[in-house]
Symmetry: C2
Subunit: 195 residues, 2 copies
DNA sequence: GCTCCTTTGTTGCCTAAGCAACAAATTTTC
DNA sequence: GAAAATTTGTTGCTTAGGCAACAAAGGAGC
């Protein structure tokens, strides 16, 4: 979103990728709680001190891992730009499902901690994304900025809540049907504000 | 051979690997003559100046590529240590064939230049290897050191000559048979010196 | 011949990564 | 629950790699 014209040092880029990849690799055989910074540094073939130059701790690392991953799926689902609220909300739900599937497919057992870290990051990103979307595609000139912000916060939690419900409880149900049932609720929240 | 107890900087190791891999990758689509140092550095995601810190030019790089590759096959063929001259010579011929197959399978078109560079490196390694082998396994106490060195030189060229003949001309013939026909000639050269 | 353009090595200065050693916290083990 | 062993962050110093600019040497095209 922001004009990132900052030239990034190739070494930095490479090292971050090495660290990210190392974590992904380790999570195939170990729980996130079990993995140590030592192991990550070793697997990434970098020095432990270098790790700390990039991330304050392993939680900051996993935050970025989640953000990177989710951003990819989010962007992908936004390719054919969803111009109506309905299509937009569908895209969000699909992106979450995509990401969750990737995570729980590729990496064996992320568990408790990991999932809640992921939830936080994803909600944060959803809120940001929805905020921007509201500003661009639903100017709602008669609605105060504060109201839009509150709406974005609420929607991000709502979207995640619905997605999580399917992921953890209703996965027997067809995802497409589930999304079709859910979206009207979300859209309703928006329309309610439109006077 | 020499006790390499020198601790090698992880960055150095990584960079060399990046450069080697970059060349291999580029050789899948371009001739060695066509590949520029620029491209190699770019593909390796390192700076061109860094390339020159490791290799004096692309010829030095390809030398190492050949040495690394051939050394691998040579070591592998020496696993079950060939104690008789016959078995040893067989192992050498097999190693050359292994390596050649890998090169011309994996990389599309190495051509003229490349092949002659490879030939030089391989003969050099063969000579070194044969020299050590002669010293350890055929002490030949009554043969002067100079004589053994000359023998090593001659054998390295002979071995390569025979292998190359098969690789470039007689490949229709079964390799195993070809080796069985060739080895006696080589062993003969050694036996001739044994009193 | 000539120009234009690319590639080649080389250099000095700057920045990121490696290393070793440390205190503090945490976990293991008995 | 105390001792031993890991793990965690942090620090000062060293070294490898990035960058930009350079002269020199081909090559391609006219």
């Amino acid at each position: 979103m922001l004009g990132n014209a900052v030239k990034i040092d190739p070494r930095t880029k490479r090292t971050r990728k090495l660290i990210l990849d190392a974590l992904i690799q380790l999570l195939r055989t170990r729980t996130f709680e079990e993995v140590t910074v030592n192991e990550i540094a070793e697997a990434a073939t970098i020095n432990r001190a270098t790790f700390y130059a990039h991330f304050s701790d392993k939680y900051a690392l996993v935050d970025e891992l989640i953000r990177d991953g989710f951003m990819m799926f989010l962007d992908r689902r936004m390719q054919h730009y969803p111009d109506t609220p309905t299509r937009y909300m569908q895209a969000l739900l699909w992106a979450i499902a995509d990401h969750w599937t990737m995570i729980h497919g590729q990496c064996n057992q992320y568990h408790r901690f990991f999932d809640s870290l992921a939830e936080n990051q994803i909600k944060r990103m959803l809120e940001q994304h929805i905020q921007t979307w509201l500003d661009h595609y639903l100017p709602l000139r008669n609605v105060a900025a504060m109201q839009r912000q509150l709406l974005a916060t609420m929607l991000s939690w709502s979207v995640f809540a619905l997605a999580a419900r399917w992921l953890y409880s209703d996965r027997c149900q067809n995802l497409e049907n589930f999304i079709n049932d859910s979206v009207p609720l979300l859209v309703g929240s928006i329309e309610a504000l439109k006077v």
